[in-house]
Every structure is written in structure tokens, then in C-alpha cells.
């Protein structure tokens, strides 16, 4: 991105002394070494991995953590590429938009963990016998957990670029390429960075889950924190589990400091409207890079080259015909397009139906649907319990600005921490205490996702205008009346946003939470997650696809009939502003 270039403006920005350069050079070299190191093994034959079983020596953990992180980065790069192309296409072409956006909506609801088992075999066939194929599969799995909401946010930003800025860019004859990088991307940047952060948080969960996969007879163990913990579970090594959790904490912390803090601080300049008095986010890494002569020397030419590339896009023919829908875009072409889409959809439906029906009976479908009901009951009960706990706490924290400043990043951090790393501890407890897995495995589903409720509620309570708080104390509104009339309505829209995220995440997590193991002990709860997990272990692709389809259907129906109406209701009635 061109804007990465630090101040090259003529304003006589103070150049800091040499030591910033030293720090900067270390940072840059570190990144290079990191990439070189982590990608060294990609071309090894797959058999190499199987030959030495993963060692649980904690000394290996930094290396593993590095591999895990690199997978995340690769997936993020892919997601960005997808976002910039798919969302742009959807935003610029009304014809494509009709199908692309609902498609995105559906993809968002498909349980990603179910995906992994299906795709891993495919990707391994692409690079037979090489580690590369398995890596592709893992990266793809993480990609599917990150890309959709980023694309959505980018699409929405593109649709809301202020008219005057669009007109200015046309009046000054920007080419399409120049407009994209000078107007569209900068305008979308703050929302995109925020969504990248959310995606990353979700991504850790899936990177851990995707490193150790067995589909039927195919077992893939990619070196990383996820496979380390899988091995630790198989060997019942509680200490190793502890090491892995520690390593993950450190990784997320470093990630936050080196990547996201700087990104957020940097993206702040693209914010279109600035609330008065809000402290702009800061990052020490960004400050170093901005002050460093070396960084300017390094990135300056890059930015220059990028700008130079604008020259190759002329204002072009497209800008001539753009108008506010006055000209009907050729009727028959539109029909052909719709016919093609419908035809493709029918074909896909036939394909899926054939595939499922070949392997499963109608009884199997109803079995999957029944277990879906069980999982649905779990998700709703868990969301209710988590709400009852976190909403009051969140409101209480949010109304105390000093506390909120500390608690908010902690809650976000907890949401980013892959909860599946904590599963072994809980599972070993259930095994030892001989508890009922149908009940006690359930809380694992919401372990990682409850924090979305907490930090959204904190954000909502912090946003309550002080006048509203003054007037309530002025009128002596207290106790239950206060909660009913002020506290709960004020945070409701924020709560709904958090609960939607938590609910979606919990469905996904059910695939790893409803069926867990500790060494030789296998625990299973009755539910759709366990159904998919079991089908995956058996390598029964028909039932995997059936399970995924049923779960997607559940998620979509619940979203459409429950969460979405609730969200619009909250937005209309309770949004303060």
C-alpha cells in the first residue's frame, strides 16, 4: 500500500538520530529471517513429517510458533487479495452484486472446521507427496475463516464513499487504478483494519485446528503449535499443554504489538470523521518506522513506483458512461446473466444432492437434523448464560472509563486467544471426574466466543453520552429501573452485534468441542458438531458434506429469522446518535 510510506512531505519533518535506524534495521532483518526460516521446509516430501513424530521438547516451540504465524500471514495476504478483487467486483458491477453478496453471506455461515477435512485431500492431491499441499490446505482453511467479513466490510465501504470525493476524483480525471488506491482503499482502510483484526482473532482458532488433521486414513501433522498440542493430548502431557498455551500467549502479544497496533495507529489517518477529543491510537513500532531515515529510504521508492503505476490507467472509457442509472443496461444481456447464474445454481444443487444421496439415506438426513437441534439448544442456552454473566459486568466496566481502558484490550486479547488450546485441560478434568460429556463439554463451545459479548458491551456502555448518565442521577433513577430504562437499552445494539459473533463462533466450535479426546479416552456429546467430527474421523465424505450442509442451513435460518431482525430492531430503536 502506497500510504505506508512515512512522511516524505516537504514540511521539514524532524529526522530522528541514528539509533532509530538501528532499531528499524533489526526489525526489517528480523522479518526477513523469519520468512526464510519458516518457509525452508516447504518443499520437503510429506513422508519426512511422518518419520519423526513431533517432539514435545519446549525448545521446539519458538520454531513451531513461527510456522503457525507464517500460515496466518499467508492466509491474511490471500484474504486481502480476495477482498480487493471480489468485493470490488461486487461493488462496481450491479449485475455481479446480485449474486456475489448473497454468496458471501452464505459462505460466512458455512462451518469452516467442516471445510478443512474436505479441502485437505484436494489440496494434497495438487502437490502430491509434498508438504506444500498440506500447507495449502491449512492456509486455505484459515483463509476461509478470515476472508468473508473483510470482503463484506470493504464492499460496504466502497458503497459509501462520499459522493463529493467520487466527483472530485472524476473531475480531476483519476484513472480506475489510481482511484482505487487513492480513494477507495484509503476510505475503506479503518473498517478493513478493524475487520482484519477480528479475522485474525478468529484465525488463531482455526490455524490450531487445521495443523493436525486426520481424514480417514490420511493423517496430516504440520509442525506448529496446533500439532504440538495435538501430540500433547495424544500423550496426555499436561505440562506440554501448558507450554503451548504460554507460547501462544507470547505469539499473540507480539503479533499485537508488531503488526496490529501499528496498523491501527496508521489507519487512523484514513478516518473520515474524527470524534472530538478521542485520543488517537499510538504505536511505538509505527513511531520508530516513521522517524527512521532507513524506513523512508526503503519505502520511499516503493511508494514512488506505485504512484508511477497510476500513469498507465487513463481516465478511460468507463468514466464516460457512468451515470446514476439513467441508461438501462441492455435487457437481454441481463437475462443471459441471470439465466447463467440460475443454471449454475441448479447444476450445483444437482451435484450436491447426487453426492449426498449416493452415500446417505433419508434417515441419515433426519439424524443429522436431530443432532442439529441438540447443538442449537446448546448454543442458545450458552449464549443466554454468557449474556446473563457478561452484560452486567460489561456495563459496570464500561461506565468506568479508567477501568474500561484496561479491560477492553484484555477482552479483545481473550477473544483472540484460541480457546481450543484450553480444551485439553477441561477434557482431562471431565475424564478424571467422570462428568457427563453432554453437559460438561458444552461450555467449551463458548469458551472462546463469549468475549465478543463482553467487549461489545463494554464498548456500548462507554459510548453512553455523559448527559444521559447525569440526567439519570439527576432524576434519581436507580436499581432495576435504571437497568430497564437506561443501561440495557443503551448497550442493546452493541450486545446484539457481540451475540451474533458469539453465536456464529459457537456453532463452528461445536465441531471440536462436542467430540474431544484425552489420550485414549474419547468423549462425545450428542450434537451436529460431534456428527461432523465423527464423519471426518471415519473419512465418510458423504456424511461430512451432509453435516456441513445441515449446519449451514441451521446457521442461515437462525440468522435470518432471529439475529437479523433483532439487529435491525436494535439499530432502529436503541442506537444512540
Amino acid at each position: 500500500m502506497t500510504q505506508q510510506i512515512a512522511p516524505i512531505s516537504v514540511g521539514g519533518v524532524l529526522r530522528a538520530p541514528l539509533y532509530w535506524d538501528v532499531v528499524a534495521i533489526i526489525l526489517v532483518l528480523g522479518v526477513l529471517a523469519f520468512f526464510a526460516n519458516a518457509s525452508r521446509d516447504l518443499m520437503l516430501p510429506l513422508a519426512e513429517l511422518g518419520r519423526h513424530p513431533l517432539s514435545l521438547d519446549p525448545a521446539n516451540l519458538p520454531g513451531f510458533a513461527m510456522r503457525t504465524t507464517l500460515r496466518m500471514l499467508a492466509a491474511m495476504a490471500l484474504s486481502l487479495l480476495f477482498t480487493f478483487t471480489y468485493a470490488t467486483w461486487a461493488a462496481k458491477s450491479r449485475r455481479a452484486e446480485v449474486i456475489l453478496i448473497p454468496l458471501l453471506d452464505i459462505l460466512q455461515s458455512v462451518p469452516i472446521l467442516g471445510f478443512i477435512s474436505v479441502t485437505v485431500v484436494y489440496f494434497m492431491s495438487l502437490a502430491p507427496g509434498l508438504v506444500l499441499g498440506a500447507e495449502f490446505a491449512a492456509v486455505f482453511a484459515i483463509f476461509t475463516s478470515q476472508a468473508w467479513n473483510m470482503a463484506f466490510s470493504f464492499y460496504q465501504s466502497l458503497r459509501t464513499v462520499p459522493d463529493e470525493l467520487v466527483e472530485a476524483s472524476r473531475n480531476f480525471r483519476f484513472g480506475a487504478w489510481m482511484r482505487f488506491w487513492r480513494l477507495d482503499v484509503p476510505f475503506a482502510m479503518p473498517a478493513l483494519v478493524w475487520n482484519m483484526m477480528m479475522s485474525m482473532s478468529g484465525g488463531w482458532f482455526f490455524v490450531v485446528a487445521s495443523e493436525a488433521i486426520s481424514v480417514g486414513d490420511t493423517t496430516v501433522i504440520l509442525p506448529g503449535i496446533g500439532s504440538y498440542i495435538a501430540t500433547a493430548i495424544a500423550q496426555r502431557d499436561l505440562a506440554a499443554v501448558g507450554y503451548a498455551i504460554g507460547a501462544m500467549l507470547v505469539v499473540i502479544l507480539i503479533y499485537d504489538q508488531l503488526l496490529f497496533r501499528p496498523l491501527v495507529a496508521w489507519a487512523d489517518r484514513f478516518r473520515f470523521e474524527h470524534e472530538m477529543g478521542a485520543e488517537p491510537p499510538r504505536s511505538w513500532v509505527l513511531t520508530i518506522l516513521r522517524r527512521s531515515r532507513l524506513a523512508a529510504w526503503l519505502f520511499g521508492p516503493l511508494g514512488e513506483a506505485w504512484r508511477w503505476s497510476y500513469r498507465f490507467s487513463s481516465p478511460g472509457q468507463r468514466s464516460k458512461t457512468v451515470d446514476s442509472g439513467e441508461i438501462d443496461t441492455g435487457g437481454w444481456r441481463r437475462w443471459i446473466w441471470f439465466a447463467t447464474v440460475v443454471l449454475l445454481a441448479l447444476l450445483a444443487f444437482y451435484e450436491v444432492a447426487l453426492f449426498v444421496m449416493q452415500g446417505v439415506s433419508l434417515a441419515e438426513v433426519s439424524k443429522a437434523a436431530m443432532s442439529g437441534l441438540a447443538t442449537m439448544a446448546r448454543v442458545f442456552i450458552l449464549i443466554a448464560i454468557a449474556s446473563a454473566i457478561w452484560v452486567p459486568i460489561g456495563v459496570w466496566i464500561g461506565l468506568r472509563p479508567n477501568l474500561a481502558r484496561v479491560a477492553q484490550p484484555v477482552a479483545q486479547f481473550l477473544a483472540a486467544f484460541p480457546a481450543n488450546l484450553l480444551f485439553p485441560i477441561a477434557v482431562s478434568g471431565i475424564v478424571v471426574l467422570r462428568l457427563d460429556p453432554n453437559i460438561w463439554l458444552s461450555p467449551l463451545m463458548i469458551l472462546g466466543t463469549q468475549w465478543y459479548i463482553l467487549f461489545n458491551v463494554i464498548a456500548g456502555a462507554s459510548a453512553v453520552p455523559s448527559e444521559l448518565r447525569y440526567i439519570s442521577s439527576n432524576l434519581h433513577i436507580r436499581g432495576w429501573l435504571w437497568w430497564r430504562r437506561i443501561g440495557l437499552p443503551a448497550v442493546f445494539p452493541f450486545y446484539v452485534t457481540g451475540a451474533i459473533t458469539a453465536s456464529g463462533g459457537s456453532w463452528n466450535a461445536s465441531i471440536v468441542a462436542e467430540a474431544a479426546s484425552w489420550g485414549q479416552d474419547k468423549l462425545q456429546a450428542y450434537g451436529l458438531g460431534a456428527y461432523i467430527a465423527e464423519a471426518t474421523a471415519a473419512g465418510d465424505f458423504h456424511r461430512i458434506v451432509l453435516g456441513i450442509a445441515v449446519m449451514s442451513a441451521f446457521v442461515i435460518v437462525i440468522n435470518r429469522t432471529f439475529w437479523r431482525p433483532l439487529y435491525y430492531y436494535a439499530e432502529r430503536k436503541f442506537r444512540l446518535s
Binding site: S9, V10, G11, E164, M178, R269, H274, D323
Partner: protein
């Protein structure tokens, strides 16, 4: 052929319409003729909704006319032509670029060499009085400074025509005046690299102060009503009697129109203000405020529009909708630049709260057909309830969905004040129940 043989800009018979959801078209500009010659500043003066900004966008090549032709230096305008630059009402600066980068960006798109871009940008910044602010971001600047960046950015590309879309209306009075005089000084000293200017405004004094010619627009659809030549010497003095005369003349020109339009046979199914009339969203507080102001000393029921506007610190765009609503409600009459209260208007101004509401309710149901229509439907239905969509669908036959929404909101507001009927936003239902 010589390019000089052509006028800078020539517009013939231009029409512009926007599609409506029912497939029809809403005409916003009709039969526009306009010629811009070298060294001319032409003002497009009209109220909001008169299509003057739309015309500016046609000239800029940002949208296309439905009929007629726009010729720039003898060439038909298809897309944004080089040599026409625009200054925007909301400044339209890129908030992520510094002042210098904002100015440079227009030249970057022209693919000039790097050092020329820098040289010309610094020159433009210098000319417009921005030196020292090169590395500032727009958000660090005041409104006036931001608009200076807007001017610098437009001038740096050395355009033949400068288009200004209400460039001073987002600024406070003092700042706007400074910017106007600065611009006029540079223009009359010949320091600006431009040949002609088109200024869109709804401020009559601004038009008289800056323009050589003022074109007055009517609304719905926008047509050019008069072409008034302003040949006062620069610098012009607002207090000069001939300046005041011109302002008065334009005022009555702009207020004369609604009366003639109502007389024209575009009447709807109902006499008076048909349900197809677009209502401005004017609060009842503004209505009573203006009534009280006119009823009180020193006006005693009759005031000149420019006078009352100046006394209340309002622009034409603020004042006209209120005055027109009063006229629709028969609380006032507008004639020849004056607003005169009717006897009911005077009665309203001196009444107490409950009497005001009663009087307002009577006039609302008698003279605003949409309000009367809604009330009638509610009275006729056994449930005394009716969905909003029933009425919005109905009036969308006459206007755009946005205008229909605005009209319904206005009528809802007035009816709530008059306690003529109630509306529940949650359910979207009108009803007769009043808690």
C-alpha cells in the same frame, strides 16, 4: 478550425431527468440555454431543488443530459473534460492526504513530471495564501483554510473554466466574505489561470457581489427565469443603492414565481395544494417564530423578505421554505418580495398554546390536501388506523421517493403538533388515537 472561434461553453436546450421507481421520469432541468464567454463570471441562482447543481455536474461531464447539448470549446462534453475544474461545497478534500498532496493529486492524474508537479503545486499554494500549511492534514485546518485548499487544487491544473458549487455556503459569514474578496482580487488582477467562472449559489447578495451575469432558476423543473446583467464596477459595495436595488429586484423575481406556477393548470385532483405537492420539512417552531417576528414591531404584519431575512440572520434557502409553508397554510401571502400576514396569521401570532393548536389544525386540514386525505382515510376506516406505506405509495406517483419521504415527515410533524392524527414509527401506522 480555430478554437478561439467558439465560446468557452455553450449549452443548448439541455434537459435532465432522473428515473423514478415506477418507470417514469422526474424532470429536474428543462430547456436550459447558457453561453459562457471569455472573462465572464456567471452565477446560477436558485433555491435548493432548482437543478442548478445538476447543471453544474452536466457541465463538468459528471453526468449526461437527457436532451440538448453541452459544448466546451466547440466539443461535445462526454466525460470529465480536461480544462474544467470544480470547487465543492463540502470541500471534497482527501482527509488522508496533506495539503500539498491534495493539491498535487490533480496534476498526478495528468501524468506530469514529478518536479513540475511539485513546482506548480507550491506556486498554487503560494497564490491562494496557504504557504506554511503544506504538511498539514485537512482535519487540522479551519473551514476557510480547507476551502482554500479546494481552490488551490482546482487552480493548479490551470483550467479554462472554474466551476464553483456553493463554495462559501459551508463557511461562517466572516470567513466566507474574506474568501470571496480574496478570490475577486485575484480574479480582477488577472492572477488566476482561468478564463471563465460559473458559480452556483442560493445567496442573492453573493451572486450580485461576484458575478457579471446572474441566471435565476425556477424550481420543479429547473428553468432559467431571467438573465440579469450586473455591471457594477469592482470592488462592489453592498450598501451602494444600486447594489441594493439589484438585490431587491432579484428577490421579487424569485418570489413572483410560485404564484404564477400555482395558477398554471398543473392542478391535481384537489384544488389548492394538491397531494402531489412536495412539502419542505419545516418545524412548527420555525413557523410560529417567523409569524411572531413579522407580527411584531417594527413590521406589524408586513415585511420585505430581504429585510426579514437579514434581521433573522437567515439565507434565502432557510427563509423561503418557511415563508412558503405559511403561504400554503394561508397564514401569510407573498407578493413582490414582501411577506404579509393574513388575519388568521395575526390571530395565530397573538394566541395562546391551545388556541394556536386549534387554529393550526383547522388550517392544516383545510389547506394541506395530504393531511386532509390522511385524516379522511383514518376517519373512514373502522380501525382508525392506516399504514404509512399506503400514502407514500400514493404520493410517489408525483415525486421521487426521497421527496415523498420528506413530504410525509413534514405532514406527520405538523399533524402531531396540531393533534390532527398520530403516527407510530415502530409500526409505521397512522392512527387517530392520542395518548
Amino acid at each position: 478550425m480555430q478554437k478561439d472561434a467558439y465560446p468557452l461553453l455553450e449549452i443548448r436546450n439541455v434537459r435532465k431527468s432522473f428515473p423514478r421507481p415506477d418507470g417514469g421520469a422526474l424532470l429536474v432541468l428543462d430547456d436550459i440555454d447558457l453561453t459562457l464567454r471569455d472573462g465572464e463570471v456567471v452565477g446560477l441562482l436558485g433555491r435548493s431543488g432548482s437543478g442548478k447543481s445538476t447543471l453544474l455536474r452536466l457541465i463538468a461531464g459528471l453526468s449526461r443530459p437527457a436532451g440538448g447539448s453541452v459544448n466546451y470549446l466547440g466539443q461535445v462534453v462526454h466525460g470529465p473534460p480536461p480544462g474544467i475544474a470544480m470547487v465543492f461545497q463540502g470541500f471534497a478534500l482527501f482527509p488522508w492526504l496533506t495539503v500539498l498532496e491534495n493539491v498535487e493529486i490533480g496534476l498526478e492524474a495528468l501524468k506530469l513530471p514529478r518536479d513540475e508537479i511539485r513546482r506548480r503545486s507550491l506556486a498554487a499554494i503560494d497564490l491562494i495564501g496557504l504557504d506554511g500549511f503544506e504538511s498539514a492534514y485537512p482535519r487540522e485546518l479551519s473551514g476557510g483554510m480547507r476551502q482554500r485548499v479546494g481552490f488551490a487544487r482546482a487552480l493548479v491544473v490551470h483550467p479554462n473554466i472554474l466551476l464553483m458549487d456553493e463554495p462559501f455556503s459551508a463557511l461562517d459569514v466572516l470567513t466566507a466574505e474574506t474568501l470571496r474578496t480574496d478570490f475577486l482580487d485575484l480574479w480582477s488582477e488577472g492572477q488566476l489561470p482561468i478564463k471563465g467562472v460559473i458559480l452556483v449559489t442560493h445567496n442573492i447578495e453573493e451572486a450580485v457581489l461576484m458575478c457579471d451575469r446572474v441566471l435565476v432558476f425556477s424550481t420543479n423543473p429547473g428553468r432559467i427565469v431571467t438573465d440579469i446583467k450586473v455591471d457594477l464596477p469592482h470592488p462592489r459595495d453592498r450598501l451602494d443603492p444600486s447594489f441594493r436595488d439589484l438585490v431587491e429586484r432579484i428577490y421579487s423575481e424569485m418570489t413572483a414565481r410560485p404564484a404564477t406556477e400555482r395558477a398554471a393548470p398543473r392542478a391535481e385532483r384537489f384544488p389548492g395544494v394538491g397531494i402531489g405537492t412536495i412539502m419542505p420539512r419545516v418545524s412548527t417552531n420555525s413557523l410560529s417564530g417567523l409569524l411572531e417576528a413579522i407580527a411584531g414591531a417594527p413590521y406589524d404584519g408586513k415585511a420585505g423578505l430581504p429585510v426579514i431575512a437579514a434581521a433573522l440572520h437567515m439565507t434565502v434557502d432557510d427563509l423561503f421554505p418557511i415563508a412558503e409553508t405559511l403561504q400554503m397554510l394561508r397564514f401569510a401571502e407573498i407578493e413582490g418580495g414582501d411577506i404579509v400576514l393574513t388575519s388568521e396569521g395575526n390571530a395565530f401570532a397573538s394566541a395562546a398554546v391551545d388556541d394556536r393548536k386549534r387554529l393550526f389544525s383547522q388550517h392544516l386540514l383545510m389547506h394541506i390536501d395530504l393531511a386532509a386525505h390522511i385524516r379522511r382515510v383514518l376517519d373512514e376506516r373502522p380501525s382508525h388506523r392506516a399504514p404509512r406505506s399506503r400514502f407514500s405509495d400514493e404520493i410517489e406517483d408525483y415525486m421521487s421517493p426521497e421527496a415523498a419521504d420528506q413530504t410525509l415527515r413534514a405532514v406527520t410533524d405538523w399533524s402531531r403538533y396540531a393533534e390532527a392524527f398520530a403516527y407510530d414509527d415502530q409500526t409505521g401506522m397512522f392512527s387517530l388515537e392520542n395518548p
